[in-house]
Amino acid sequence: MKTRTAKKTGGYLLNAVLSAAVIAVSVMAPDFGATVKGVTIVWQLCYFIILSCSLNLVIGFLGQLSLGHCGFMAVGAYTAALISLAFQRAGFYTDKGGGAFLLVLVICIVAAGILAALVGVLVGIPALRMKGDYLAIITLGFGLIIVNIINNLPFCGMDGLSKGSAASALYANGLGFVAGQLITWLWLPVALTILSVIMMYMFVRSKYGRAITAIRDNEIAAAASGVNVSHFKVLTFVVGAFFAGIAGAIFSMCSSTLSTASFNFTSSSILNSTFIVVMVVIGGMGSLTGSSVAAVLLYLLNYTIKNGKWVSVLPVFLRQLFAYPMLVYSIVMVIVIIFRPHGIFGTYEFSLYNSLKRLFSKRRTAAAAKEVTDNE
C-alpha cells in the first residue's frame, strides 16, 4: 500500500530525471552536430511555450481575457537588453563566456521578470476592476501604450535599440547571441522553460491556484467563501506578466534585432498578442499541457508552411489559402470554439508518471486475469 507522499515522490523523481536528461541533451547539443537553424527553432519554441502557458494562467485559470500579453514581453525584452548593455559598459564582462557573463545573464532574466511583473501590478490594479469585455479592451490598450511608450523612450528608440544611448551594440556586446553561441547556450532557454512551466504548474496546483479557479468558476461564490477576489486577480495577472517578461528576455537573446514592431497586437509574424491567445484557446483554457502542445504544434505548423516542401504538393486552392496561414488558424479557432468551447485539451493535464502507472497496472491486471483463467 503506497502512501500519497510515496506516489508523489515517484512522480517528482521521474519528472526531475526527465528534465535533467532534456537539459543534459541541450548542454551537449554541439556534440550532436546541432545546426544554427535547428537551434533557433528551439529558442523560439521556448519563449512561445512560456508565453502561452503564462497567458493561460490569466485566460484559462482566472477566466479573464487579456489581450496585451506581448506588452509585458516587450518590457522584459528591453529590460534584459538594456541591463546587459549597462553591465558591459561598466566593464563587468568582456567576452560572452565565463562566470561573470552568466551572472549578468541571470540578473538580466530575473530583472526582466520583475520589471514586467511591476508593470503588471500597475496595469492589473486598475484593469482588473473591469470585467470580461472591458478587461480585454483595457489590457489591449495597455499593451499598445507600453509599446508606444517604449517607442518614445529616447534610450530605447524606435528602430530596435539603434537610436539613443543603447546604440546598436546589443548583438556585439550585450546579451544577444549569434550563430554558434546560440548552440552553446541552448541549455539556458531549455532550462528556463522547464523551470518556468514547473513553477507555473506548482502555482496553479497550490492553494492560490485553487482560489483562482474558484474565482473563474463563480466569482460571487468565491468571494462569499472568503477568497479575496481582487487580490488573487492581480496576483495571477502579475505572475503571468512575470513569466511573459522572462519569455521576453529569451526573445532578446535569440533574435537578431530588437524592435517594438515584434510586440504588437497583431502583425504578419506569429509573435503577437492575438496569436498567443489563439495558442491558449486551441490548446485548452485551463491546461498548461494544452498550451505547451499548442505552442509547439502551431509554431512548427507555421514554420513548415513557410519553409516546408509539402505545401507545394497541395492543390492550388489550399496552397493559396496557406499563403496566409493566419486565415487557417483563425478558421480553426472558430471551429474549435464552436465544437469544444474549452479548447482541445480542456482542463486535462498530462502526467507521465500517472499514465505509465495506468499502463502497467492495466497490464498487470490483464496478466493476473489471464493467470486466473489459465489455472481454471
Binding site: 495597455f142 497586437f265 483563425s330
Partner: protein, 298 residues
C-alpha cells in the same frame, strides 16, 4: 488661429467617422453584450466595395457617391454572414469570453481573407476620389466640402437611427431584446432575427463610414479597420456603450483629442492619449458619459 481651426476641422471630421463606426459597435453591444472586434473590418470590406464600384459608376456617368449603396449592401451581407456562421453557434454553446475570442478570430479571418482574394491582394489599393475638391476658406484654414458632408451625414444618420430605435416597431423590439431576451421571446419577438437585423444595420453603418473615411484617406488596405475600429470602440465606451447619442458624442471627443494631441503634443503619442482616455473613463465612470449604470445581478 489657422492651425487651431485646421486641427478642429480634422478632429470633427475624424470624429464623425469614428461616431458612425461607434454607432455600429453600440448597437451590437447593446443587443448581445458582445464587443464585435470584426466591426472595424467591416469598414475594410466597405472600402474594397467602393474600390470596385466607384470606377464602374464613373464609367456609367453616375455620381461616385452612389457607390455607398453597394458598400452598405456588401457590409450588411458580410455582417449577417458572420452572425450566422460564427456568433450564433458560439452564443449557443459558449460563454461571454468565447464569444469575444470568436469576434477576434472573425476579425483575423476577414483581414486575411481579403489578402487571399486574388482581385484584392496584400497591397494597398487607391480608391478614386469621391467628393469634389475645394471648400470654404476660413481664417487661414480650409473647411472642405468633404468635411461638411461627412459631419452632416453622420449627424443625420444618428438622428434617423435614434428615432428608429425609439419610434418604430423593430426599434422597440431591439430595445426589448437588449433589456431581457427571455421576456422579449415571451412577448412574441423573434430574438434571433432581431439580432440579425441589428448586425445588418451596424455593418451597413460601417459601409457609410467607409465612404467617409476613404474620401479623406483614399487607400484601402486589409488592416485599415483594426486601428479605426479600436478608436471607434473607445469612442463608444467613452460615450456610454449602448447609447446612440453617447456613441456620437464619444466619436467627436475622440476625434478632437486625436487631432489636437497630434497637432500640439506629439503625433506618435496621439494613440497613447486615446487609450489613456479610455482607461481613465473606465476607471472613473465605467458606464461612460451618457451610459446608464447597471447593477450586477447575483
Amino acid at each position: 488661429m489657422g492651425a487651431f481651426l485646421t486641427a478642429l476641422f480634422t478632429g470633427l471630421r475624424l470624429g464623425s467617422v469614428y461616431a458612425l463606426v461607434a454607432l455600429g459597435y453600440t448597437m451590437v453591444y447593446g443587443i448581445i453584450k458582445l464587443i464585435n472586434f470584426a466591426h472595424g473590418d467591416f469598414i475594410m470590406v466597405g472600402a474594397y466595395a467602393l474600390f470596385f464600384t466607384v470606377p464602374v459608376l464613373r464609367a456609367a456617368g453616375a455620381p461616385a457617391w452612389l457607390a455607398v449603396i453597394a458598400a452598405v449592401l456588401v457590409c450588411a451581407a458580410v455582417g449577417m454572414v458572420t452572425e450566422l456562421a460564427a456568433y450564433r453557434p458560439v452564443r449557443k454553446t459558449g460563454t461571454n469570453m468565447t464569444a469575444l475570442i470568436t469576434a477576434i478570430a472573425v476579425s483575423l479571418i476577414l483581414e486575411n481573407l481579403a489578402q487571399a482574394i486574388p482581385a484584392i491582394g496584400p497591397n494597398p489599393r487607391t480608391v478614386a476620389s469621391i467628393f469634389a475638391a475645394g471648400g470654404i476658406s476660413l481664417a487661414g484654414a480650409t473647411l472642405s466640402w468633404a468635411t461638411i458632408i461627412t459631419i452632416a451625414v453622420s449627424l443625420v444618420i444618428m438622428l434617423i437611427l435614434y428615432s428608429f430605435t425609439q419610434k418604430t416597431r423593430l426599434g422597440r423590439a431591439m430595445r426589448a431584446v437588449s433589456e431581457d431576451k427571455q421576456a422579449a421571446t415571451l412577448m412574441g419577438i423573434n430574438v434571433n432575427s432581431t439580432i440579425l437585423i441589428t448586425f445588418a444595420i451596424g455593418a451597413g453603418l460601417a459601409g457609410v463610414a467607409a465612404l467617409m473615411y476613404v474620401a479623406q484617406y483614399p487607400a484601402a488596405t486589409n488592416v485599415m479597420g483594426a486601428t479605426l475600429g479600436l478608436y471607434a470602440f473607445v469612442a463608444a465606451v467613452l460615450g456610454g456603450i449602448g447609447s446612440i447619442p453617447g456613441a456620437m458624442l464619444g466619436g467627436f471627443v475622440i476625434g478632437l483629442i486625436y487631432s489636437f494631441s497630434s497637432a500640439y503634443i506629439s503625433s506618435s503619442l496621439a494613440s497613447t492619449f486615446v487609450y489613456l482616455i479610455l482607461i481613465v473613463v473606465l476607471l472613473i465612470k465605467p458606464a461612460g458619459i451618457l451610459g446608464k449604470n447597471v447593477g450586477e445581478k447575483v
